[in-house]
Homo-oligomer: 233 residues x 2
Amino acid sequence: MSEHISKRYDHELEGVRTGLLQMGGLIEQQIEHAMRGVIERNLPMLEEVIANDKKVNAMEVELDDACIHLIAKRQPAAGDLRVIMSVVKIITDLERIGDEVKKIAKMGRHILESDAVFVPRVELRHAASLAVDMLRRTLDSLARMDVGSATEVVRQDKEVDAEFKSIMRQLITFMMEDPRTISCGLDLLFIAKAIERIGDHSKNMAQYVVFMVKGTDVRHGGLAAMEAAAASD
Amino acid sequence: MSEHISKRYDHELEGVRTGLLQMGGLIEQQIEHAMRGVIERNLPMLEEVIANDKKVNAMEVELDDACIHLIAKRQPAAGDLRVIMSVVKIITDLERIGDEVKKIAKMGRHILESDAVFVPRVELRHAASLAVDMLRRTLDSLARMDVGSATEVVRQDKEVDAEFKSIMRQLITFMMEDPRTISCGLDLLFIAKAIERIGDHSKNMAQYVVFMVKGTDVRHGGLAAMEAAAASD
C-alpha cells in the first residue's frame, strides 16, 4: 500500500472514530436529560429525549455504512481490520444504550401521565451518575486507546450492579409496606434496570477497546482477563 | 478474482453461516431447557443451562474470529462484505439471547432456592414459545435468505410485547392482592422481561437478514420499511 493511500485510510478511520465519539456525546447528554426529566418531573424534557433517539439511530446507520465502505475501499490488513470490527461492535452497543435511555424517558412519562400519588422514594441519581461515568470513561479510553481506563470500566460495572440490587431491595420494602406503590414502583424498577443495562453496554464497549488495542478477546474472561491484557505489552 | 478463489470464499462463508445456525440451534435448546427448568422446577436442568452458556460464548468468539479472517484473506467486494457484516451483527444478538437465557435460568434457580411459597400463577409458556418461534423463523430466514419470513418475525415481535404486558398486569394484580407474592413476582417479571428481550434480539437479527439480502437498512423504519423491502426486487 502506498503511503498516500495509507494516509487517506488513516484519515477516514479517524473520521469514523470522531463520529463514534460524537454519537457517544449525544447519548451521554440523552442519559442526563432523561434522568433530570424523571427526577424533576419535566415532561417536555422527556419528550425531547424520546424524539432525539431518531438522531442516535441515524448516526448508527451512517457510521455502520462508513465502516463497510472503509473496508471495501481500503481492504485493510488484519490489525486495522480488528480496529474497524471493534468499532462496528461498539456502534451497536452505543445504539442499544440509546434504546435504554428512550425506555427511561418513556417510563418517566408514564409515571407523570398516570398522576401517580404513591411514588416510592428511591434514589436513582447515584446509579445513573455511575453509569454516565462508565460511558464517559469508555469513550475516553476509545479516544486515547487506553486499556487501563477500559479495565476500570469493568470494575465500575460491579458497582452499578450492586446499586441496582440495592434499589430493588428498597422498592420491594416500599411495595410490601404499601401495595398502592406497586404500579409506580415497577416503573422505577425498570428505570433502574435500564441504568444497569447502560452499565452492561459500556462494559461491552470497554472490552472491545481492549480487543482493538491488544488483540485479546476479553469478553468472557471477567475482570482478571482484562487486567492480564492491560498488563501485557 | 479467479473462480478458484471465489469458490474457496463461498465455501468459507458457507462455513460461517453453518456455524451461526449451529449456535442458533444450541440457543433454541437452551431457551427450551430454561423454561422447562422454571416450569417443572428442575434445578439440575437450570444448572446445565447456566453452564452451557460458556459454549455459546465460545461459539461467539470463534465465529467473530472466522469473519475477521475471512474479510482479511478474501477482501470481499461490497455485496459480499454486506453479508459478512450482517453476520457479525447477528452473532452479537445471538450471544445476547444466550445471556438472557442464562438470566432466566438464574432467576429460576433463585425461585427454587428461596423456597418461595407465595408463587403467583402466571402463564409464561405462551410468551416463551412465541419467542422460540421467532428465533427459529429468523434462523430459517437466514438459512434460506428469505425476506418474507424475516418480515413475519417483526410482526410476531408485537405479539411477544403484548404477552409481556399482559403478564405484567397479572403480576401486579397478584402482588397487590397479596404482598407476600411480591418477591417471587419480581423474579417472574424479570423472566418475562428476558423472554421479551429474546423477541427483540430476534427482531434485530431478522432486520439484518433483510439488509443482507436486499441491501436496505430497515432497522429503524418499523414494519412498513420491512414490508417495502420485502416487496422490492
